[in-house]
């Protein structure tokens, strides 16, 4: 459950980008970059958790700004822009770390990862029951994202931009700025995801996230987001993340070979999106009928 918070937080970031009608396939590279940056930072300057958090978030946000500028100002299609940045980041990381793990992070920081809230004092089966700090981070991120999307001009702008870019422009939204901000927010979330991941693992492996972006997009899509933008919610994304993690967990518990995981997840994605489309088509047919009836009257 703890490790799924990384997926959840990253999915919140990708959610915002997808809502604007763009896509971000650089989440894996960005998270990996953040983990390496904060690990090196801690080894050099010590592990004050607050400073590490700020460094992590700033690194993510910076990458987000770069992606956003490429997409908004240079009009590079988001899938290509983030593909390119992801390639560059992953290449740079492997070049820099040579694929080696970074360990020996300061205690000051790794201790944060073991904090539990509402922990019961008794120890059951060797594990302490409670809410790990990572889950708390995910919940806070989800609540903030929820409020940003629902109650701020930025959030409403994102829905407007994803729904119809031209009308958003005419209402007076600065589409370019909204796009950059959405990617920056995504970067912030990847930064948080990277820090949270490091608190769990306590070592950093720059190759740990290869292919992770597909899981993130899968969680967002399962949560009912329209990939062409404009509709989708934080709640749905969280449910998508939960569904993915329950499937994984359930398969492990029922001792079904892990090789089945990707089959089951793939089939569920296919079914979820197909049902979505079939429902939309059905609804469209219904509305057309209503129109005809009105005309006759």
């Amino acid at each position: 459950m703890k490790s799924n918070s990384v997926l959840g937080i990253a999915a919140l970031g990708t959610l915002l980008v997808i809502l604007t009608g763009n896509i971000d396939i650089s989440s894996s590279g960005q998270i990996a970059l953040v983990t390496v940056v904060i690990a090196k930072f801690m080894l050099a300057f010590g592990g004050n958790p607050f400073i590490v958090f700020i460094v992590g978030l700033a690194t993510g946000a910076l990458m987000g700004v770069v992606n956003g500028l490429l997409v908004a100002k240079l009009k590079i299609p988001s899938i290509i822009a983030t593909l390119a940045t992801n390639t560059i980041i992953n290449g740079a990381l492997r070049w820099y770390t040579n694929g080696a793990w970074i360990s020996g992070l300061p205690d000051e920081f790794t201790r944060v990862g073991d904090i539990m809230f509402f922990a019961s004092s008794e120890v059951e089966n060797g594990t302490i029951n409670g809410v790990p700090i990572q889950i708390l981070f995910m919940v806070i991120a989800a609540v903030i994202t929820f409020f940003v999307l629902r109650y701020t001009m930025f959030g409403r702008g994102i829905y407007a931009l994803g729904g119809n870019a031209d009308s958003a422009q005419r209402i007076g939204f600065n589409n370019d700025r909204l796009t950059v901000m959405a990617f920056t927010y995504a970067g912030l979330m990847y930064g948080l995801a990277g820090v949270v991941y490091t608190t769990i693992m306590k070592t950093v492996d720059s190759n740990a996230f290869i292919g992770f972006e597909m899981n993130v997009i899968g969680a967002v899509v399962l949560g009912g987001v329209s990939i062409s933008g404009g509709s989708g919610s934080v709640f749905g994304t969280m449910l998508g993340m939960l569904l993915l993690s329950i499937i994984k967990n359930g398969l492990v518990l029922t001792r079904i070979s892990t090789y089945w995981q990707s089959i089951v997840i793939g089939i569920i994605i296919l079914f979820a999106v197909s049902l979505d489309i079939i429902n939309i088509k059905r609804e469209e047919k219904r509305t057309i009928k209503v129109d005809i009836v009105k005309e006759e009257v």
Binding site: I76, P77, T87, S257
Partner: protein, 325 residues
């Protein structure tokens, strides 16, 4: 003279690509004449280019319709794995090696065609976005492949099978000949037939294409089936080259194929691009990675450069479009 001028005007992007390719080729030759410009290196580049090239052509046909196929390499490998099982069974039954190889190739391409048709069904007839469908099928194909191989590599082909991926015919690497055949056939298909025209039209505007009397669903289905066949061909080459099949072979080719197609002038939103552009894109990627490799540049640094080139080319295109307006 007039026609030449308009020809250059129309294919400006293509000529720019050729110039970039030649410039890179000459640059690498100058930087490392004793290693880059040897028949040994050129032929090893031809070997490597063929797998990516066949996949990239499949990808660019899909991108022409405004789609994308993330399941590219996993379809190749799932088909190759099933083909391997068939060949293993036939080898242990002591059947004629040539017959075994033929059966293996047919099975690989047939399975891959079916996998393409599955993608096509969801995209054309259910109407789900290609990126979502192929995200799902990629996961499914990978899972089935893993279930069969348990994560290891399957081999055990008749020795003659190695020729397809490693053989040399008339001084030219055999997979490269397959690649050239694929280039010719797909160029004719896409750029010289009515069907190919409708592929471009779908990429431009699906609704308008449908209203002009073209069965867009059928065309889309055909596009993904063709992409499936190309995946199968690439699967045969890869299985033969590595004399084994494994789910994660070629998984980096998916993004490289997109890169090559976009580098070659294919519009990611569909409707624009040529097969020959993609072929040059693949060649550019190959010259960069082989050349830098010979110069002793770290393999990972090559990725950085390829990413940077992709962004640079698109940026140049953006500014040249502004100037034209």
């Amino acid at each position: 003279m007039e026609t030449l001028k308009s020809n250059i005007q129309n294919n400006k992007q293509l000529y720019m690509l050729v110039i970039i390719f030649l410039a890179l080729f000459i640059l690498m030759s100058i930087l490392s004449p004793s290693k880059f410009l040897t028949s040994n290196n050129i032929s090893s580049m031809m070997f490597q280019m063929s797998e990516l090239g066949v996949l990239a052509i499949g990808m660019s046909i899909v991108i022409l319709t405004g789609g994308i196929n993330l399941a590219l390499s996993h379809s190749s490998m799932l088909a190759a794995i099933i083909g391997t099982l068939v060949m293993q069974a036939m080898v242990s039954a002591g059947m004629n090696p040539l017959l075994t190889i033929l059966a293996g190739i047919i099975v690989i391409i047939a399975v891959s065609l079916i996998l393409g048709a599955i993608n096509g069904f969801f995209i054309a007839y259910v109407g789900v976005l290609p990126i979502l469908v192929t995200l799902g099928t990629r996961s499914v194909f990978e899972g089935i492949g893993l279930n069969i191989t348990k994560g290891s590599a399957l081999g055990g082909y008749p020795p003659e099978f190695n020729f397809i991926g490693n053989g040399v015919f008339l001084g030219i690497p055999f997979p490269f000949l397959i690649y050239v055949a694929v280039i010719i056939v797909s160029t004719l298909l896409i750029q010289r037939t009515a069907w190919g025209m409708s592929v471009y039209m779908i990429g431009g505007n699906v609704k308008a294409t449908e209203l002009s009397g073209i069965n867009t669903k059928k065309v889309l289905m055909g596009v993904y089936i063709i992409c499936g066949i190309l995946c199968g061909i690439a699967g045969v080459i890869m299985a033969s080259r590595y004399s084994s099949a494994r789910t994660d072979y070629g998984s980096s080719y998916v993004m490289q194929a997109v890169t090559a197609a976009v580098l070659g002038g294919t519009d990611i939103n569909g409707g624009e691009g040529t097969i020959i552009g993609t072929v040059i894109g693949v060649a550019i990627l190959q010259v960069i990675s082989s050349g830098l490799n010979i110069l002793g540049v770290n393999r990972n640094f090559v990725d950085i450069i390829i990413g940077a080139i992709l962004i640079a080319v698109l940026t140049i295109r953006f500014f040249s479009n502004i100037n034209e307006r």
